[in-house]
Point group: C2
Protein backbone atom coordinates (compact mmCIF):
# COMPACT_ATOMS: atom_id res chain seq x y z
CA UNK A 1 0.00 0.00 0.00
CA UNK A 2 1.60 3.20 -1.10
CA UNK A 3 0.65 5.73 1.55
CA UNK A 4 -1.45 8.39 -0.08
CA UNK A 5 1.30 10.77 -1.03
CA UNK A 6 -1.01 13.71 -1.55
CA UNK A 7 0.23 16.32 -3.90
CA UNK A 8 -0.17 18.70 -0.98
CA UNK A 9 2.62 16.90 0.83
CA UNK A 10 5.21 17.82 -1.75
CA UNK A 11 7.91 20.05 -0.38
CA UNK A 12 6.43 19.82 3.06
CA UNK A 13 8.79 19.65 6.01
CA UNK A 14 6.77 17.60 8.44
CA UNK A 15 8.62 18.49 11.61
CA UNK A 16 8.38 22.18 10.77
CA UNK A 17 4.67 21.79 10.18
CA UNK A 18 4.33 20.20 13.60
CA UNK A 19 6.30 23.01 15.17
CA UNK A 20 3.95 25.53 13.58
CA UNK A 21 1.06 23.60 15.11
CA UNK A 22 2.72 24.04 18.47
CA UNK A 23 3.16 27.77 17.87
CA UNK A 24 -0.48 28.22 16.97
CA UNK A 25 -1.54 26.21 19.98
CA UNK A 26 0.49 28.51 22.20
CA UNK A 27 -1.06 31.53 20.52
CA UNK A 28 -4.45 30.35 21.70
CA UNK A 29 -3.03 29.34 25.05
CA UNK A 30 -3.51 32.85 26.38
CA UNK A 31 -1.61 34.70 29.01
CA UNK A 32 -1.00 31.86 31.40
CA UNK A 33 0.44 29.58 28.77
CA UNK A 34 0.29 25.84 28.20
CA UNK A 35 1.99 22.90 29.87
CA UNK A 36 3.93 20.36 27.83
CA UNK A 37 1.24 17.74 28.14
CA UNK A 38 -1.44 20.19 27.09
CA UNK A 39 0.56 21.14 24.01
CA UNK A 40 1.08 17.49 23.10
CA UNK A 41 -2.59 16.60 23.38
CA UNK A 42 -3.95 19.67 21.58
CA UNK A 43 -1.70 19.18 18.56
CA UNK A 44 -1.86 15.40 18.75
CA UNK A 45 1.74 14.35 19.23
CA UNK A 46 3.77 12.63 21.87
CA UNK A 47 4.94 14.43 24.96
CA UNK A 48 8.59 13.98 24.10
CA UNK A 49 8.16 15.39 20.62
CA UNK A 50 6.41 18.45 21.96
CA UNK A 51 9.16 18.79 24.54
CA UNK A 52 11.91 18.82 21.90
CA UNK A 53 10.08 21.37 19.79
CA UNK A 54 9.47 23.61 22.78
CA UNK A 55 13.10 23.42 23.84
CA UNK A 56 14.26 24.37 20.36
CA UNK A 57 11.87 27.31 20.19
CA UNK A 58 12.80 28.29 23.72
CA UNK A 59 16.51 28.51 22.95
CA UNK A 60 15.73 30.86 20.07
CA UNK A 61 13.41 33.12 22.05
CA UNK A 62 10.32 32.11 20.11
CA UNK A 63 8.71 30.80 23.25
CA UNK A 64 9.12 31.80 26.86
CA UNK A 65 8.61 29.60 29.87
CA UNK A 66 7.73 30.38 33.43
CA UNK A 67 8.35 28.13 36.34
CA UNK A 68 10.05 24.77 36.15
CA UNK A 69 9.34 21.21 37.05
CA UNK A 70 5.74 20.07 37.37
CA UNK A 71 4.32 23.58 37.08
CA UNK A 72 6.24 24.75 34.03
CA UNK A 73 4.20 26.55 31.39
CA UNK A 74 5.11 27.77 27.93
CA UNK A 75 3.84 30.77 25.98
CA UNK A 76 4.90 32.61 22.85
CA UNK A 77 8.08 34.63 23.20
CA UNK A 78 8.91 38.20 22.38
CA UNK A 79 10.62 37.22 19.15
CA UNK A 80 7.16 37.21 17.65
CA UNK A 81 6.60 40.77 18.82
CA UNK A 82 9.75 41.78 16.97
CA UNK A 83 8.93 39.87 13.80
CA UNK A 84 5.32 41.04 13.83
CA UNK A 85 6.47 44.62 14.08
CA UNK A 86 8.83 44.04 11.17
CA UNK A 87 6.01 42.65 9.05
CA UNK A 88 3.54 45.42 9.73
CA UNK A 89 6.26 48.00 9.11
CA UNK A 90 7.38 46.42 5.87
CA UNK A 91 4.49 47.72 3.85
CA UNK A 92 5.57 51.29 4.49
CA UNK A 93 1.93 52.26 4.59
CA UNK A 94 1.73 51.97 8.32
CA UNK A 95 4.42 54.52 9.09
CA UNK A 96 2.60 57.10 7.03
CA UNK A 97 -0.93 56.29 8.09
CA UNK A 98 -0.65 55.78 11.85
CA UNK A 99 -0.28 59.43 12.88
CA UNK A 100 -3.43 60.27 10.96
CA UNK A 101 -5.18 57.29 12.47
CA UNK A 102 -4.36 58.62 15.93
CA UNK A 103 -5.82 61.96 14.99
CA UNK A 104 -8.91 60.29 13.58
CA UNK A 105 -9.46 58.33 16.78
CA UNK A 106 -9.09 61.50 18.81
CA UNK A 107 -11.45 63.57 16.66
CA UNK A 108 -14.08 60.85 16.23
CA UNK A 109 -13.68 59.39 19.70
CA UNK A 110 -13.78 55.89 18.22
CA UNK A 111 -11.42 52.99 17.72
CA UNK A 112 -9.85 53.15 14.26
CA UNK A 113 -7.93 50.61 12.23
CA UNK A 114 -5.69 50.32 9.19
CA UNK A 115 -5.86 47.30 6.88
CA UNK A 116 -4.36 45.99 3.67
CA UNK A 117 -5.49 43.53 1.03
CA UNK A 118 -4.15 39.99 1.31
CA UNK A 119 -5.38 37.48 -1.22
CA UNK A 120 -8.90 38.86 -1.20
CA UNK A 121 -9.12 39.23 2.54
CA UNK A 122 -8.79 42.35 4.66
CA UNK A 123 -5.98 42.19 7.21
CA UNK A 124 -5.50 44.85 9.88
CA UNK A 125 -1.93 46.01 10.38
CA UNK A 126 -2.56 48.91 12.75
CA UNK A 127 -5.05 50.02 15.32
CA UNK A 128 -5.67 52.88 17.73
CA UNK A 129 -8.06 52.12 20.55
CA UNK A 130 -10.67 54.71 21.36
CA UNK A 131 -11.60 55.97 24.81
CA UNK A 132 -14.59 53.64 25.05
CA UNK A 133 -14.34 50.97 27.66
CA UNK A 134 -15.47 48.26 25.27
CA UNK A 135 -12.70 46.89 23.11
CA UNK A 136 -13.90 45.34 19.88
CA UNK A 137 -12.03 42.64 17.96
CA UNK A 138 -8.59 44.05 18.56
CA UNK A 139 -6.78 41.51 16.43
CA UNK A 140 -4.06 42.46 14.03
CA UNK A 141 -2.92 40.16 11.24
CA UNK A 142 -6.09 38.09 11.11
CA UNK A 143 -7.92 37.63 7.86
CA UNK A 144 -11.34 39.26 7.82
CA UNK A 145 -14.07 38.74 5.26
CA UNK A 146 -14.06 41.49 2.62
CA UNK A 147 -17.83 41.50 2.05
CA UNK A 148 -18.78 41.72 5.71
CA UNK A 149 -16.53 44.55 6.92
CA UNK A 150 -16.42 48.25 6.15
CA UNK A 151 -12.69 48.08 5.62
CA UNK A 152 -13.11 45.21 3.16
CA UNK A 153 -15.97 46.77 1.23
CA UNK A 154 -14.08 50.05 0.95
CA UNK A 155 -11.28 48.16 -0.80
CA UNK A 156 -13.60 46.06 -2.97
CA UNK A 157 -15.34 49.24 -4.12
CA UNK A 158 -12.14 50.36 -5.89
CA UNK A 159 -12.18 47.27 -8.11
CA UNK A 160 -14.39 46.67 -11.13
CA UNK A 161 -17.22 44.14 -11.01
CA UNK A 162 -15.25 41.35 -12.65
CA UNK A 163 -12.44 41.50 -10.10
CA UNK A 164 -14.96 41.53 -7.27
CA UNK A 165 -16.72 38.50 -8.74
CA UNK A 166 -13.40 36.66 -8.95
CA UNK A 167 -12.58 37.35 -5.31
CA UNK A 168 -16.04 36.47 -4.04
CA UNK A 169 -15.99 33.37 -6.20
CA UNK A 170 -12.98 32.17 -4.26
CA UNK A 171 -14.14 33.24 -0.82
CA UNK A 172 -17.91 33.01 -1.03
CA UNK A 173 -20.38 35.14 0.91
CA UNK A 174 -20.67 33.43 4.29
CA UNK A 175 -23.07 35.02 6.77
CA UNK A 176 -21.46 36.52 9.83
CA UNK A 177 -23.80 39.02 11.44
CA UNK A 178 -27.51 39.82 11.30
CA UNK A 179 -27.20 41.92 8.13
CA UNK A 180 -24.41 40.19 6.20
CA UNK A 181 -24.78 40.60 2.45
CA UNK A 182 -25.11 37.07 1.08
CA UNK A 183 -26.04 37.90 -2.51
CA UNK A 184 -23.50 38.99 -5.10
CA UNK A 185 -25.80 41.46 -6.86
CA UNK A 186 -26.73 43.14 -3.60
CA UNK A 187 -23.03 43.35 -2.79
CA UNK A 188 -22.16 44.93 -6.14
CA UNK A 189 -24.94 47.48 -5.68
CA UNK A 190 -23.65 48.28 -2.22
CA UNK A 191 -20.13 48.70 -3.62
CA UNK A 192 -21.35 51.12 -6.29
CA UNK A 193 -23.02 53.24 -3.62
CA UNK A 194 -19.84 53.01 -1.57
CA UNK A 195 -17.77 54.29 -4.50
CA UNK A 196 -20.12 57.24 -5.10
CA UNK A 197 -20.31 58.11 -1.43
CA UNK A 198 -16.60 57.73 -0.75
CA UNK A 199 -17.00 55.56 2.33
CA UNK A 200 -18.33 52.10 3.17
CA UNK A 201 -20.78 51.22 5.92
CA UNK A 202 -20.91 47.94 7.79
CA UNK A 203 -24.22 47.96 9.69
CA UNK A 204 -24.08 44.83 11.84
CA UNK A 205 -22.90 42.83 8.85
CA UNK A 206 -19.99 41.25 10.68
CA UNK A 207 -20.91 41.45 14.34
CA UNK A 208 -24.27 42.08 16.00
CA UNK A 209 -24.40 45.48 17.69
CA UNK A 210 -21.30 46.80 15.94
CA UNK A 211 -21.16 49.28 13.05
CA UNK A 212 -18.07 50.31 11.10
CA UNK A 213 -17.35 53.01 8.55
CA UNK A 214 -14.35 52.72 6.26
CA UNK A 215 -12.66 54.37 3.31
CA UNK A 216 -9.94 53.23 0.92
CA UNK A 217 -6.38 54.49 0.53
CA UNK A 218 -4.80 54.63 -2.93
CA UNK A 219 -1.20 54.93 -4.07
CA UNK A 220 0.18 57.12 -6.83
CA UNK A 221 -0.87 54.67 -9.51
CA UNK A 222 -4.46 54.87 -8.33
CA UNK A 223 -4.59 51.29 -7.09
CA UNK A 224 -5.94 50.53 -3.66
CA UNK A 225 -3.25 49.69 -1.12
CA UNK A 226 -5.42 49.58 1.98
CA UNK A 227 -8.24 51.14 3.93
CA UNK A 228 -9.01 52.75 7.27
CA UNK A 229 -12.11 52.45 9.38
CA UNK A 230 -13.71 53.45 12.65
CA UNK A 231 -15.75 51.12 14.81
CA UNK A 232 -18.65 51.97 17.11
CA UNK A 233 -21.42 50.25 18.96
CA UNK A 234 -24.74 50.45 17.17
CA UNK A 235 -26.44 52.56 19.80
CA UNK A 236 -23.57 55.06 19.76
CA UNK A 237 -24.08 55.72 16.06
CA UNK A 238 -27.24 57.50 15.07
CA UNK A 239 -28.23 57.73 11.40
CA UNK A 240 -27.35 61.41 11.06
CA UNK A 241 -23.95 60.99 12.69
CA UNK A 242 -23.10 58.19 10.26
CA UNK A 243 -22.86 60.69 7.41
CA UNK A 244 -20.78 62.98 9.59
CA UNK A 245 -18.38 60.22 10.60
CA UNK A 246 -18.30 58.96 7.02
CA UNK A 247 -17.15 62.33 5.76
CA UNK A 248 -14.50 62.38 8.44
CA UNK A 249 -13.15 58.94 7.58
CA UNK A 250 -13.22 59.80 3.86
CA UNK A 251 -11.25 62.97 4.52
CA UNK A 252 -8.52 61.20 6.51
CA UNK A 253 -8.28 58.44 3.91
CA UNK A 254 -7.88 61.16 1.29
CA UNK A 255 -5.12 62.83 3.29
CA UNK A 256 -3.20 59.55 3.57
CA UNK A 257 -3.75 58.94 -0.14
CA UNK A 258 -2.29 62.37 -0.89
CA UNK A 259 0.73 61.60 1.28
CA UNK A 260 1.28 58.50 -0.83
CA UNK A 261 1.14 60.62 -3.98
CA UNK A 262 -2.26 59.38 -5.04
CA UNK A 263 -5.38 60.95 -6.52
Amino acid sequence: MTPNTDNADKYRVKSLDHALDVVEALAHGGREGLAVTEVATTVGMSKSSAYSILQTLLRRGFVASQGTGPTRRYRLGLSFAYLGDQVTSQTGLREIAMPYLEELTRVAGLTSRLAIFDEGYAVAIGRIDGPGTIRIAPFLGRRELPHATAIGKAMLATLDDEEVRAIIGAIGLPARGPNTIVDIDTLLHDLHRTAERGYAIDDEEDTAGVVCIGASVLDRTGTCVGAISVTALKHEMRADSAAEIGALVRRYAGTITTELGGR
Copy 2:
Protein backbone atom coordinates in the same frame (compact mmCIF):
# COMPACT_ATOMS: atom_id res chain seq x y z
CA MET B 1 34.94 9.45 15.28
CA THR B 2 31.97 10.28 17.42
CA PRO B 3 30.74 13.63 16.19
CA ASN B 4 30.92 16.12 19.01
CA THR B 5 27.45 15.68 20.40
CA ASP B 6 27.44 18.95 22.27
CA ASN B 7 25.23 19.06 25.28
CA ALA B 8 23.62 22.07 23.60
CA ASP B 9 22.26 19.79 20.91
CA LYS B 10 20.07 17.90 23.33
CA TYR B 11 16.39 18.22 22.55
CA ARG B 12 17.17 20.24 19.47
CA VAL B 13 15.02 19.70 16.40
CA LYS B 14 17.51 20.43 13.69
CA SER B 15 15.10 21.05 10.85
CA LEU B 16 13.10 23.43 13.00
CA ASP B 17 16.26 25.26 13.92
CA HIS B 18 17.07 25.63 10.24
CA ALA B 19 13.59 26.93 9.57
CA LEU B 20 14.05 29.54 12.28
CA ASP B 21 17.26 30.58 10.56
CA VAL B 22 15.24 31.11 7.40
CA VAL B 23 12.66 33.15 9.28
CA GLU B 24 15.30 35.41 10.78
CA ALA B 25 16.96 35.80 7.41
CA LEU B 26 13.65 36.92 5.93
CA ALA B 27 13.16 39.35 8.83
CA HIS B 28 16.35 41.11 7.77
CA GLY B 29 15.43 40.80 4.13
CA GLY B 30 13.37 43.95 4.31
CA ARG B 31 10.43 45.01 2.27
CA GLU B 32 11.48 43.59 -1.06
CA GLY B 33 12.15 40.12 0.32
CA LEU B 34 14.71 37.46 -0.51
CA ALA B 35 15.03 34.98 -3.35
CA VAL B 36 15.41 31.27 -2.68
CA THR B 37 19.09 31.28 -3.54
CA GLU B 38 19.74 34.25 -1.29
CA VAL B 39 18.02 32.50 1.60
CA ALA B 40 20.02 29.33 1.02
CA THR B 41 23.36 31.12 0.96
CA THR B 42 22.71 33.41 3.93
CA VAL B 43 21.69 30.54 6.21
CA GLY B 44 24.16 28.11 4.67
CA MET B 45 22.01 25.32 3.33
CA SER B 46 21.18 23.83 -0.02
CA LYS B 47 18.74 25.48 -2.37
CA SER B 48 16.35 22.57 -2.28
CA SER B 49 16.24 22.51 1.52
CA ALA B 50 15.47 26.20 1.65
CA TYR B 51 12.83 25.67 -0.99
CA SER B 52 11.04 23.01 1.05
CA ILE B 53 11.11 25.12 4.19
CA LEU B 54 9.79 28.15 2.33
CA GLN B 55 6.98 26.14 0.78
CA THR B 56 5.96 24.77 4.18
CA LEU B 57 5.96 28.22 5.74
CA LEU B 58 4.15 29.61 2.71
CA ARG B 59 1.28 27.18 3.01
CA ARG B 60 0.78 28.23 6.61
CA GLY B 61 0.90 31.96 5.94
CA PHE B 62 4.16 32.47 7.78
CA VAL B 63 5.80 33.72 4.64
CA ALA B 64 4.37 35.49 1.63
CA SER B 65 5.76 35.41 -1.87
CA GLN B 66 5.47 37.83 -4.73
CA GLY B 67 6.03 36.96 -8.35
CA THR B 68 6.94 33.54 -9.62
CA GLY B 69 9.65 31.89 -11.63
CA PRO B 70 13.08 33.51 -11.76
CA THR B 71 11.94 36.70 -10.04
CA ARG B 72 10.11 35.14 -7.13
CA ARG B 73 10.84 36.67 -3.74
CA TYR B 74 9.83 35.64 -0.25
CA ARG B 75 9.16 37.78 2.80
CA LEU B 76 7.59 37.21 6.21
CA GLY B 77 3.83 36.70 6.16
CA LEU B 78 1.03 38.28 8.10
CA SER B 79 0.80 35.34 10.48
CA PHE B 80 3.63 37.00 12.35
CA ALA B 81 1.60 40.19 12.64
CA TYR B 82 -1.16 38.17 14.26
CA LEU B 83 1.12 36.27 16.61
CA GLY B 84 3.08 39.39 17.51
CA ASP B 85 -0.12 41.17 18.42
CA GLN B 86 -1.11 38.20 20.56
CA VAL B 87 2.20 38.31 22.40
CA THR B 88 2.18 42.01 23.13
CA SER B 89 -1.44 41.77 24.25
CA GLN B 90 -0.81 38.81 26.50
CA THR B 91 0.84 40.81 29.22
CA GLY B 92 -2.38 42.73 29.84
CA LEU B 93 -0.27 45.76 30.61
CA ARG B 94 -0.47 47.07 27.08
CA GLU B 95 -4.25 47.32 26.94
CA ILE B 96 -4.26 49.47 30.04
CA ALA B 97 -1.23 51.60 29.25
CA MET B 98 -1.65 52.44 25.56
CA PRO B 99 -4.43 55.03 25.90
CA TYR B 100 -2.31 56.92 28.42
CA LEU B 101 0.70 56.60 26.17
CA GLU B 102 -1.26 58.22 23.36
CA GLU B 103 -2.18 61.08 25.65
CA LEU B 104 1.42 61.43 26.78
CA THR B 105 2.63 61.63 23.19
CA ARG B 106 0.04 64.27 22.40
CA VAL B 107 0.78 66.38 25.46
CA ALA B 108 4.56 66.09 25.24
CA GLY B 109 4.71 66.12 21.45
CA LEU B 110 7.25 63.29 21.55
CA THR B 111 7.40 59.63 20.63
CA SER B 112 6.62 57.47 23.66
CA ARG B 113 7.11 53.79 24.34
CA LEU B 114 6.04 51.05 26.72
CA ALA B 115 8.43 48.29 27.75
CA ILE B 116 8.61 45.27 30.01
CA PHE B 117 11.44 43.37 31.69
CA ASP B 118 12.66 40.22 29.94
CA GLU B 119 15.55 38.40 31.53
CA GLY B 120 17.29 41.59 32.49
CA TYR B 121 16.70 43.37 29.21
CA ALA B 122 14.15 46.03 28.37
CA VAL B 123 11.77 45.05 25.58
CA ALA B 124 9.32 47.50 24.04
CA ILE B 125 5.81 46.15 23.52
CA GLY B 126 4.08 49.37 22.50
CA ARG B 127 4.87 52.66 20.87
CA ILE B 128 3.16 55.86 19.78
CA ASP B 129 5.03 57.91 17.22
CA GLY B 130 5.22 61.63 17.79
CA PRO B 131 4.61 64.34 15.23
CA GLY B 132 8.32 64.79 14.56
CA THR B 133 9.46 63.78 11.12
CA ILE B 134 12.39 61.80 12.50
CA ARG B 135 11.50 58.32 13.62
CA ILE B 136 13.89 56.87 16.14
CA ALA B 137 14.50 53.15 16.65
CA PRO B 138 10.91 52.10 16.21
CA PHE B 139 11.49 48.45 16.95
CA LEU B 140 9.19 46.47 19.15
CA GLY B 141 10.19 43.18 20.69
CA ARG B 142 13.91 43.77 20.51
CA ARG B 143 16.07 43.46 23.58
CA GLU B 144 17.60 46.73 24.69
CA LEU B 145 20.34 47.21 27.22
CA PRO B 146 18.96 48.08 30.65
CA HIS B 147 21.86 50.30 31.72
CA ALA B 148 21.91 52.41 28.54
CA THR B 149 18.25 53.31 28.17
CA ALA B 150 15.88 55.45 30.22
CA ILE B 151 13.27 52.74 30.13
CA GLY B 152 15.78 50.19 31.39
CA LYS B 153 17.21 52.38 34.14
CA ALA B 154 13.72 53.26 35.35
CA MET B 155 13.08 49.56 35.87
CA LEU B 156 16.47 48.85 37.43
CA ALA B 157 15.90 51.69 39.90
CA THR B 158 13.05 49.74 41.47
CA LEU B 159 15.37 46.88 42.40
CA ASP B 160 17.87 46.79 45.25
CA ASP B 161 21.60 46.94 44.62
CA GLU B 162 22.14 43.20 44.83
CA GLU B 163 19.57 42.42 42.15
CA VAL B 164 21.04 45.10 39.91
CA ARG B 165 24.52 43.65 40.36
CA ALA B 166 23.22 40.20 39.44
CA ILE B 167 21.63 41.46 36.22
CA ILE B 168 24.62 43.57 35.23
CA GLY B 169 26.89 40.65 36.05
CA ALA B 170 25.11 38.61 33.42
CA ILE B 171 24.81 41.32 30.79
CA GLY B 172 27.81 43.54 31.44
CA LEU B 173 28.04 47.27 30.78
CA PRO B 174 28.87 47.52 27.09
CA ALA B 175 29.29 51.03 25.71
CA ARG B 176 26.67 52.11 23.22
CA GLY B 177 26.60 55.90 22.96
CA PRO B 178 28.90 58.78 23.91
CA ASN B 179 27.77 58.84 27.55
CA THR B 180 27.05 55.18 28.31
CA ILE B 181 27.62 54.33 31.96
CA VAL B 182 30.32 51.67 31.97
CA ASP B 183 31.00 51.52 35.70
CA ILE B 184 28.78 49.67 38.14
CA ASP B 185 29.18 52.18 40.97
CA THR B 186 28.33 55.09 38.71
CA LEU B 187 25.29 53.15 37.55
CA LEU B 188 24.11 52.44 41.10
CA HIS B 189 24.51 56.11 42.00
CA ASP B 190 22.50 57.07 38.92
CA LEU B 191 19.80 54.59 39.87
CA HIS B 192 19.56 56.04 43.39
CA ARG B 193 19.08 59.50 41.93
CA THR B 194 16.52 58.05 39.54
CA ALA B 195 14.55 56.51 42.41
CA GLU B 196 14.52 59.80 44.36
CA ARG B 197 13.59 61.84 41.34
CA GLY B 198 10.92 59.43 40.06
CA TYR B 199 12.18 59.37 36.49
CA ALA B 200 15.27 58.18 34.62
CA ILE B 201 17.31 60.18 32.11
CA ASP B 202 19.24 58.73 29.19
CA ASP B 203 21.43 61.55 27.91
CA GLU B 204 23.03 60.13 24.75
CA GLU B 205 23.86 56.94 26.64
CA ASP B 206 22.43 54.66 23.98
CA THR B 207 22.46 56.73 20.80
CA ALA B 208 24.32 59.91 19.96
CA GLY B 209 22.01 62.89 19.66
CA VAL B 210 19.08 61.17 21.34
CA VAL B 211 17.80 61.70 24.88
CA CYS B 212 15.10 59.71 26.65
CA ILE B 213 13.18 60.13 29.89
CA GLY B 214 11.43 57.18 31.48
CA ALA B 215 9.53 56.11 34.57
CA SER B 216 8.56 52.74 35.97
CA VAL B 217 5.14 51.15 36.30
CA LEU B 218 4.34 48.95 39.31
CA ASP B 219 1.60 46.43 39.99
CA ARG B 220 -0.44 46.01 43.14
CA THR B 221 2.31 44.04 44.84
CA GLY B 222 4.69 46.93 44.32
CA THR B 223 6.93 45.05 41.90
CA CYS B 224 7.95 46.67 38.64
CA VAL B 225 6.09 45.30 35.64
CA GLY B 226 7.33 47.74 33.03
CA ALA B 227 8.19 51.32 32.20
CA ILE B 228 7.26 54.11 29.84
CA SER B 229 9.50 56.67 28.19
CA VAL B 230 9.57 59.57 25.78
CA THR B 231 12.30 60.10 23.21
CA ALA B 232 13.60 63.36 21.79
CA LEU B 233 16.52 64.67 19.83
CA LYS B 234 19.15 66.29 22.00
CA HIS B 235 18.68 69.75 20.56
CA GLU B 236 14.92 69.57 21.15
CA MET B 237 15.41 69.01 24.86
CA ARG B 238 16.78 71.90 26.87
CA ALA B 239 17.91 71.36 30.44
CA ASP B 240 14.94 73.13 31.99
CA SER B 241 12.42 71.24 29.90
CA ALA B 242 13.93 67.94 30.98
CA ALA B 243 12.56 68.43 34.48
CA GLU B 244 9.22 69.45 33.06
CA ILE B 245 9.03 66.40 30.78
CA GLY B 246 10.28 64.19 33.59
CA ALA B 247 7.43 65.27 35.84
CA LEU B 248 5.02 64.55 33.02
CA VAL B 249 6.35 61.05 32.39
CA ARG B 250 6.38 60.34 36.10
CA ARG B 251 2.77 61.44 36.40
CA TYR B 252 1.57 59.21 33.56
CA ALA B 253 3.53 56.25 34.90
CA GLY B 254 1.85 56.87 38.25
CA THR B 255 -1.58 56.94 36.64
CA ILE B 256 -0.96 53.61 34.93
CA THR B 257 0.37 52.20 38.20
CA THR B 258 -2.82 53.30 39.94
CA GLU B 259 -4.91 51.61 37.23
CA LEU B 260 -3.03 48.42 37.98
CA GLY B 261 -3.82 48.80 41.66
CA GLY B 262 -0.30 49.75 42.63
CA ARG B 263 1.29 52.28 44.99
